[in-house]
Amino acid sequence: MTRIRPRAHVAAHLICIAFACGFAQAHGYVGDRFFPPTISTDDPFAVDELALPTLSYVKNGPSEDGPGNHEFGAGFEFDKEIFPHFALGVSETYFVQKLDHGDSVKGWDNLTLTAKYEVWHSLPHEAIMAVGLEAEIGGTGSKSVGRSPYTTLSPTFFYGKGFGDLPDRFGAVRPFAITGTIAQTFPIGGDDPNTLEWGIAVEYSLSYLQQRVRDIGLPAPFKDMTPLVEFAMSTGENRSERGLTTGTINPGVLWDTRQFQLGVEANIPVNSRSGSHVGVTLQMWIFIDDLFPKVFGHPIFGGDR
């Protein structure tokens, strides 16, 4: 058996790191800024991601569509980078609605497929823009939980911006970042209205504060948390919902570890059309690119990002 000399072994290791393997850059980074995956609005990154599970609960009041109910949801989202900066994704949720007066109804949401491409980054300014297309496939969900038989396509613009490039005198503001989406829906068939879907997440990274601005001595797990508020809104453009806006304001907190991120948000309806009760969503993002670097964390085709 051939013995490899230690020095040659070290050199081979370094060469592998520098050239063969490339330097990895994975989920949610633009330059030095980490943008954590958010719960109520989609983030602008076309990377390998797995949200498993996403659990939700809300009490729905009675409406013209039916009696009041307690609605539970359990779902997932999986995204895979196919080419550098281009990813495809799939998400699905199973719902159970316990009616106030009667039995429970249960069933799947419509399957949602997404394609996303990161079109622009500015590393020093911690900024990113992406475009994508979301397709909610009609008829794949259950009529019992009110899912539409018609497909809806939604071209989407994604953005993210960190404020770490502000001057030092704005030190306390530098941990802030925003991400968000603007999407135009096009229902194919049926009488669903076109809507403008718009969302924004305002987040404050305590780890950015500790590592880049001022170490205020936060202990674990608080030093790895990101308090945030998300606004997930929808404005009708025609038919019966022209000019009507619905949505939720979602304050919460994200906690990042090396393997996963755990997040929880309250879902507060912005008006009576959006709901009558506060809901809650719990979500875990599993960092599959870090957990399984041989399989995830790089595109299938086209080399590393």
Partner: protein
Amino acid sequence: MSRILRFILMCSIVMITSGAQIVSAHAMPDHCEPRVGSTVDKPPAEVRIWFNEKIESAFSGIEVFGADGKQIDKKDSHVDAKENRLLIVSVGTLAPGTYRVAWHVVSVDTHKTSGDFKFTVKPQ
């Protein structure tokens, strides 16, 4: 519902526990000396940064700059021989003023990260 929920939760647990043996991640500072954004009475002889991951010495380093933008460290940044999460650079006798510390590291699983912070040496 309960069966599907149990299945999803079980998948989550399996993913986490099976990955725990092969986990790797981005190296980020755990803490620093001098502390990030601090004002110190006594000038430090070294700048030390402890990371939350093991780092590659050949691709990791610290540079320290004075208020005029000139590099003032001894250009001897290195990973500690006993503690491979600790990156160190020597600095000369620092005059009172504000200094910027820029770091860049590659974790042993090749993830590249960088960042900077400032500290101030108080006038005597």
